[in-house]
């Protein structure tokens, strides 16, 4: 890469516009700055990847549920009398029959008593099977072609004719909770990324300021010899850019390795938690833009810090 030409860092040796009049590359704390930028890039990659994962998780859950709902036939009727299993099975059948005839339904499936027992087993324990008379509700899973409130109201009216206390559960509250949670987490990771950026800016500005302080006499001399502000700021800008390139490259590489490690070691859990999560092109571009942004931030911060200091000179 052109930035790493061997002659580049030689003092006083001009190759085109690439030259240092000030021994910036020999300043103390250069290694620290590279390390800092590497760490910040690493953290940025991690935070962004986390945000992408959350986003795709939320998308997956909501798209899986959006056209589905569950119809519940409560175990007791409107007067509070427990329904017999036969009653519930009969009611389920008539609901299924009524709805199968509708053209807006894609799929309908009444859960069997065994399926329902399996569902509640985690709460009641395996012994649930041994309570044959335990009242269980009837559950019917319905998938619409495209769901809307109007269709649901129509269905509610239909079902009220079969039994008055049938419950329609749209998963809405549960889904809304999950989406609110992932949204908040995404916002937090985004905020973290911004904080990382801000910290980097502050650290670089501080480093540039201390370098100007160290070389104040020399900067002043260049200024007195008629060097333009740009001529002087270019040297600091270039210096910051080289440091940032090294740091960002290392940080991005470490970040990608980290992501790879996470997906390898946490493979099973992650797969369960993030079904079908994969980086798409937009994600990859955004992650690649992060080290580029780090370099841009470094160069721009150096430039504006120097220009501000120079503005104080006569």
């Amino acid at each position: 890469m052109a930035f790493f030409l061997p002659g580049d860092k030689k003092l006083g040796v001009a190759t085109g516009r690439r030259r240092y009049d000030l021994p910036l590359n020999k300043s103390a704390g250069t290694g620290f700055l590279v390390l800092l930028i590497a760490l910040m890039t690493f953290l940025g990659v991690m935070a962004l990847a986390g945000s992408f994962a959350l986003g795709s998780m939320a998308h997956h859950w909501s798209s899986g549920l959006e056209n589905k709902l569950t119809i519940e036939i409560p175990a007791d009727d409107a007067t509070g009398t427990i329904r017999t299993r036969e009653d519930i099975e009969k009611l389920s059948e008539s609901v299924t029959e009524r709805l199968s005839a509708q053209n807006f339904i894609r799929d309908i499936h009444a859960l069997s008593q065994t399926e329902i027992q399996e569902l509640i087993a985690p709460w009641l324990g395996e012994d649930a099977e041994n309570i044959p008379d335990m009242p269980l509700p009837g559950l019917i899973a319905v998938e619409f072609i495209t769901i809307n409130d109007h269709l649901i109201e129509k269905m509610r009216a239909d079902l009220a004719n079969i039994a008055p206390n049938i419950v329609i559960d749209r998963h809405e509250s549960w889904l809304a909770d999950i989406l609110r949670l992932t949204g908040a987490l995404q916002f937090a990771t985004l905020l973290t990324t911004l904080m990382i950026g801000a910290t980097t800016i502050i650290a670089i500005a501080g480093a540039v300021k201390s370098r100007i302080a160290i070389h104040r006499k020399d900067v002043e001399l260049l200024h007195l010899m008629g060097a333009s502000d740009r001529y002087i700021s270019r040297q600091f800008q270039r210096h910051a850019l080289i440091l940032a390139l090294q740091g960002a490259a290392a940080g991005a590489a470490a970040g990608l390795l980290g992501l790879l490690a996470i997906s390898l070691f946490a493979g099973d859990t992650a797969a369960a938690l993030l079904p079908e999560f994969q980086l798409n092109m937009i994600h990859i571009f955004t992650l690649a833009a992060l080290p580029a942004a780090a370099c841009f931030i470094a160069a721009a911060t150096a430039k504006f810090t120097v220009l501000r200091e120079l503005a104080l000179m006569p």
């Binding site: 001009a14 009049d21 000030l22 007195l224 008629g226 060097a227 502000d229 006569p314």
Partner: protein
């Protein structure tokens, strides 16, 4: 070329080091600036190379009032001025060659031209063997010659030299005075600050004398006679 009108200057809240300075320097002139130590020679030089702003009065350089010039234009004026600082102010991490090359690089000259000109000038001031030396490894006199070479390499329109021959023995000092003369004949306006009577006596240049914060210009007798002869 340079015009000072009622110029005063103080450092911070201190007393006025210069008060009510008035003078005009014509293009192509050659002046000594003299006065006892602490009279304000270096301070006046600072005003002339735009290293400080006056606390009052008007200064115009190259026919432009510097009080209301933007930064880029001030930089352009500075590039036309060569300065030999009293304490040299060489960049300690740059070789003699790179120190002298600096003004040309700031001017954006091609590297090939820079190499030829800098080599030639350093040879001429007797530092051909010290091109790659860092300033700290050079003697005071050698550093002074590097500083002078740096001031003249860009063929400035105005050369300001603050005690430029203080550390030099007579022979090399004379040689450098001849260099200034030569530049002057090619059109460079020159001001040399010195408190050496010996040096001033050897040349017939008019003297700007600083004392009590003000400035008088004295011309030696034979300089006036020469000018008069030139006129008639």
């Amino acid at each position: 070329m340079i015009k000072f009108e009622h110029v005063g200057m103080r450092y911070g809240v201190g007393p006025e080091v210069l008060s009510d300075i008035n003078f005009i320097l014509e293009p192509g002139s050659f002046h000594f600036l003299t006065g006892p130590s602490g009279a304000g020679k270096t301070s006046l030089m600072n005003l002339m190379f735009l290293g400080r702003k006056p606390t009052r009065g008007l200064i115009s350089m190259f026919d432009q009032n510097i009080n209301d010039l933007e930064r880029a234009k001030l930089a352009r004026i500075r590039r036309r001025i060569g300065v030999v600082f009293q304490e040299f102010r060489l960049l300690p991490h740059l070789s003699a060659f790179d120190n002298v090359a600096l003004p040309l690089r700031i001017l954006g000259r091609p590297e090939r031209e820079i190499r030829n000109n800098v080599n030639e000038l350093l040879e001429w001031v007797g530092l051909g063997d010290y091109m790659k030396s860092l300033p700290l490894t050079l003697s005071g006199g050698q550093q002074q010659r590097v500083a002078i070479a740096r001031a003249v390499i860009g063929r400035p329109k105005l050369l300001l030299a603050d005690e430029p021959t203080g550390n030099l023995d007579d022979e090399i000092g004379l040689r450098l005075m001849n260099l200034f003369d030569q530049l002057n004949r090619m059109g460079t306006t020159i001001v040399i600050a010195t408190h050496s009577q010996h040096l001033m006596d050897k040349f017939e240049h008019p003297r700007m004398v600083l004392g009590d914060g003000t400035l008088k210009i004295n011309a030696p007798k034979n300089w006036i006679q020469k000018k008069i002869k030139g006129v008639f």
